[in-house]
């Protein structure tokens, strides 16, 4: 189990969390190609607004620039990356090799995921890998970091330091198992957790109470995941089509209650309220703002939420 008092990688995100700041992360999705300019533009929009930015790994199984390459571009451009890595596309040989490469390129945070099934993406005919699941990937990276050995037991040449993250979805089923799964991720080496986007605050509070009762917040930093809604249509779509996400009626009503042109603004207002709400929940150490393809709003959101300037550590 992770020990919060031991610094794992000394990344900016880890330092923000360990020094007691309410941390802020966001998402920075790589382009569907090698368009570096597009990525640099996105980086410019979030620079200075967050402690680190998640670089997604072929999210929803749609082919994009690799998260390692894109994370390296973030490093060069002065935004600390949280490199996401999914086990869908790489076995333990590729995963470990990629982790060495990522560390060599200056990447100090990573998020271990299983990844969306390829049937959701643009290559449903692809063969998947899933040699490891996300929990086993955590265990593998932790073993490299803390014991200097790869999965086979062979020694690692030169150490790596990596602040290890995992995702948690409090809204999927079976509900009683979600917190057990969180505990397993922490056992396997997760130093921080970013949750799936939260709309059902009641269920999230219940989840967090269970987590705190088990003492999980003492071993791991938990960041509450939030996604601003751009419109009532988006809310209804997500509610209906995204597994593991339920948007309560009162939220859909709130967005629908304003004219179409103002719905995006109301979505931001709702997000600001949610940020204040999660700040008050015991065990929450920060927010993970997933403004999907809406990076231009990250500065406004963090500014209005009183989260700027970010600490210089």
């Amino acid at each position: 189990m992770s020990d919060k008092s031991v610094i794992k990688s000394g990344s900016n995100l880890e330092r923000a969390l360990s020094s007691g700041h309410f941390a802020v992360t966001c998402e920075c999705g790589p382009p569907k190609g090698a368009d570096v300019e597009y990525l640099e533009k996105k980086i410019g929009l979030i620079r200075g607004c967050v402690d680190a930015a998640n670089v997604t790994d072929n999210q929803t199984a749609v082919v994009r620039m690799s998260s390692i390459a894109a994370s390296s571009i973030l490093v060069k451009n002065g935004v600390e990356p949280v490199m996401q890595m999914v086990t869908r596309d790489r076995n333990r040989i590729a995963a470990q090799s990629d982790i060495f490469g990522a560390y060599a390129l200056g990447i100090r945070n990573m998020l271990c995921l299983t990844g969306d099934h390829q049937s959701f993406g643009n290559h449903p005919m692809a063969k998947n890998v899933f040699d490891l699941d996300s929990i086993q990937l955590l265990d593998v990276v932790r073993t490299i970091r803390d014991r200097g050995a790869v999965n086979s037991g062979d020694p690692v040449q030169g150490g790596i330091r990596m602040f290890l993250g995992a995702a948690a979805n409090p809204f999927a089923d079976p509900f009683e198992f979600r917190v057990i799964r969180l505990a397993k991720k922490i056992d396997a080496g997760a130093d921080f957790i970013q949750t799936q986007c939260i709309y059902d605050m009641k269920r999230f509070r219940e989840f967090m109470k269970m987590a705190c009762d088990m003492g999980l917040d003492r071993h791991c930093y938990i960041l509450a995941g939030l996604t601003p809604l751009k419109s009532a249509g988006m809310a209804a779509y997500m509610n209906k089509n995204v597994s593991g996400i339920t948007i309560p009626d009162d939220i859909i009503k709130r967005i629908r209650g304003v004219p179409g042109a103002d719905q995006a603004e109301e979505g931001i207002n709702l997000l600001l309220d949610q940020i204040q709400e999660v700040r008050e929940i015991p065990g929450i150490s920060g927010v993970h703002i997933m403004a999907i393809e809406w990076e231009e709003k990250v500065r406004e959101i963090t500014e209005r939420a009183g989260l700027l300037p970010r600490p210089q550590l």
């Binding site: 333990r92 899933f130 995702a167 999927a172 079976p174 593991g244």
Partner: protein
């Protein structure tokens, strides 16, 4: 059992376009039970081929046979001699892939074509419905999961519990048709009073016993040595 589905008729017809005397062979075991490759299906496919080639104005001799098992020597010997003695140009097998391979290895210069797409190791759930139950990974872990296999029955082969795509007992990959196996495992372990088992971390699995380790074979020494 091994489950298999019929290939599209025109695909099978295409395989045998260039042959005059074709033998369609069924298998009396798994594919008979799953209603894709038994005697009845042999008759249907053979009749279909006769009618279709007849309509094309190119009638062919389509013969029928069905053996108890296409994956054991003693059962396939009669087929091999029939091919030889009757001058058969090509064989269409309605066995699973095992049967097709087994015959292909023994058929010399006679081509053989699969009439089925072999799909999985499964069980008959109700009349007309079969479902995948085992992946043949060579290192069974289901003592830890209440006897229910996540390697075969989880869309992502997860070994440490359900992903975020488990909702109301269904798998997000195809909610209408796939149950979340981790919900089944959870419910079963709850009934067995063994929910604490789920707290254990299952480490990275050794896949060398699965197909990933190379082509597999099994030896029963007490028999093999005698030979």
């Amino acid at each position: 059992m091994i489950v298999a589905d019929p290939k599209p008729f025109l695909q099978v017809k295409g395989y045998v376009e260039d042959f005059e005397k074709v033998l369609v062979v069924g298998c009396g075991t798994c594919t008979t039970v799953c209603l894709s490759g038994g005697e009845a299906e042999v008759q249907i496919l053979a009749s279909g081929l006769r009618i279709a080639f007849g309509k094309d104005g190119r009638p062919k001799t389509i013969l029928e046979d069905c053996v108890q098992r296409q994956c054991d020597v003693e059962f396939v010997l009669p087929i091999l001699s029939r091919v030889e003695s009757e001058g058969i140009d090509a064989v269409v097998s309605l066995a699973c892939g095992v049967g097709v391979n087994f015959l292909a290895d023994r058929l010399g210069k006679t081509p053989i074509f699969p009439g089925l797409d072999t799909t999985f190791y499964g069980a008959g759930m109700q009349p007309g419905l079969w479902a995948e139950m085992c992946a043949g990974c060579g290192s069974c872990i289901i003592a830890c999961t209440g006897g229910i296999c996540p390697v075969a029955r989880c869309s992502k082969h997860l070994l440490n519990g359900p992903c975020g795509g488990s909702e109301k007992g269904r798998c997000e990959v195809d909610p209408a048709n796939i149950e979340c196996v981790w919900q089944l495992i959870y419910d079963r372990l709850k009934r067995l009073g063994r929910l604490d088992d789920l707290r254990n971390l299952l480490p990275a699995k050794d896949w060398s016993t699965a197909a990933d380790g190379g082509v597999r074979r099994t030896i029963r020494e007490q028999l093999y040595d005698i030979k």
